[in-house]
Amino acid sequence: MKHSILHLALAAVAALCASGTGASAAWEPVRPVEFIVPAGTGGGADQMARTIQGIVTKHNLMKQPMVVINKAGGAGGEGFLDVKSSSGNPHKIIITLSNLFTTPLATGIPFNWKDLTPVAMLALDEFVLWVNAEKSYNKVGEYVDAVKKAPAGTFKMGGTGSKQEDQIITVAVEKAIDTKFTYIPYKGGGEVAVQLVGNHVDSTVNNPIEAVAQWRGGKLRPLCVFDAQPMAYDEPITDGKSWKDIPTCKSQGLDMEYLMLRGIFMPPKATKDQIDYYVELFKKVRATPEWQDFMKSGAFNTTFLTGGDYAKWVEAEQKRHEVLMKEAGFLAPGN
């Protein structure tokens, strides 16, 4: 790269300014950082990205602005391909959800998580089995009986997107209790929850944040959470019940665990300094009260992983999704 004298001078000034506040970081962004969201505006990943952007701005955690850009086309494939093709560009990061695994498998677009550089796992999103509060079943057992009693194909499960996390869970539940749902895909999680309130579907596997308002309003009832242990938040939400009081599905005889990744990746060929910079940045974000409030409002699992541990986790999840999607028959033809 050829730099002009002017540019060198500018860089030198920038470097001086940067070193003034503590010269710990070896690399810092020198232009606005693009924060890619492989999903539409208003969804869960978008909310998280914009919360992070707000926290970074408010607490002045970065000298350059952070710019959130939605690239939702092809179930997020557009965003992943964009980052994949920005090899060596340290001013671009991407937040992922489960479509990191499901989109390439279901659509056959040429992309694999190994095309990106893992940075950090920020949190894991829980999935809860919800039913309408007017329904008589209070326990998973009663629910399963009702599903089995219903004529084949008339019990409707609503979810976000097709061949994505919600439908994967649905298929796994079908396997676990040996029955068949009719899965109806919608565009957004909030819409799914409202369709359940309006009795247009019979149950959903919404994330906590998508359905909590309806729970508090007494319209929906959580039956169980698809995690290995109950959620950690014991503040009462409604009727003296808290997130912690929701039993795990496994304990109720529904053997399925599923958590959705909310993690950060960078384009290929990022240097160690650059990765370290972002890891430090997200550590600072996680320490803010705003982040903790956000985690609480969505009852997130706050596991934080970086480096090798993170990569190992993603690798294992990739294998698991391959198996789950293959069993469900969701793989794109030719995969």
Binding site: L10, A11, R31, P32, V67
Partner: protein, 165 residues
């Protein structure tokens, strides 16, 4: 500007209509081919991905066939436009195409400066001073409104890279 003369030369309406109908029919065929790839049958989950596009493609081809027929039957030999008028249109289309095509390489700002400058100077016949003022003023305002104010990154080329923007 150009006075309409009945004896002026230009493509006939009929020719353009025919071409248009054929173009749309070709598009319809592409849609049909794409739908066939996606599967047009009624699967276990209701209609498959290509079901609706397939029939849309068929309708496009059918409607175009009728349009083509009525275009060919048309004995009216009125002009679509005079060559002079089309030259005017092309004098915008061609530079805009160059402008749009060069954007991925030189970035939006440089391309816009040249494009506005060219338009005002050669089509508008303005003096250099207003031309330069508008040609540079607009991209600079754009830069501040989009990149600084609303934080919307626009395409940039080597010159912006060099300036460190």
């Amino acid at each position: 500007m150009t006075a309409r003369r009945s004896d002026a030369a230009g493509p006939t309406h009929k020719a353009v209509e025919t071409g248009m109908a054929l173009l749309i029919a070709a598009f319809g065929i592409i849609v049909i081919v794409g739908s066939l790839k996606a599967g047009i049958t009624w699967g276990a989950e209701g209609p498959r991905a290509g079901f609706f596009p397939f029939y849309i493609g068929i309708s496009i081809v059918a409607a175009s066939a009728i349009n083509l027929w009525s275009a060919l039957r048309d004995h009216d030999d009125r002009l679509f436009a005079e060559w002079g008028q089309l030259r005017q249109v092309m004098s915008v289309v061609v530079p805009t195409a160059i402008y749009v095509g060069s954007m991925p390489f030189v970035g939006l700002y440089v391309a816009s400066i040249i494009f506005i400058g060219w338009f005002m100077r050669w089509l508008g016949g303005y003096r250099w001073l207003p031309t330069v003022a508008v040609a540079f003023g607009m991209p600079i305002i754009t830069y501040f409104v989009f990149e600084r104010w609303f934080l919307v990154p626009l395409p940039k080329g080597p010159i912006e890279e060099w300036l460190g923007l």
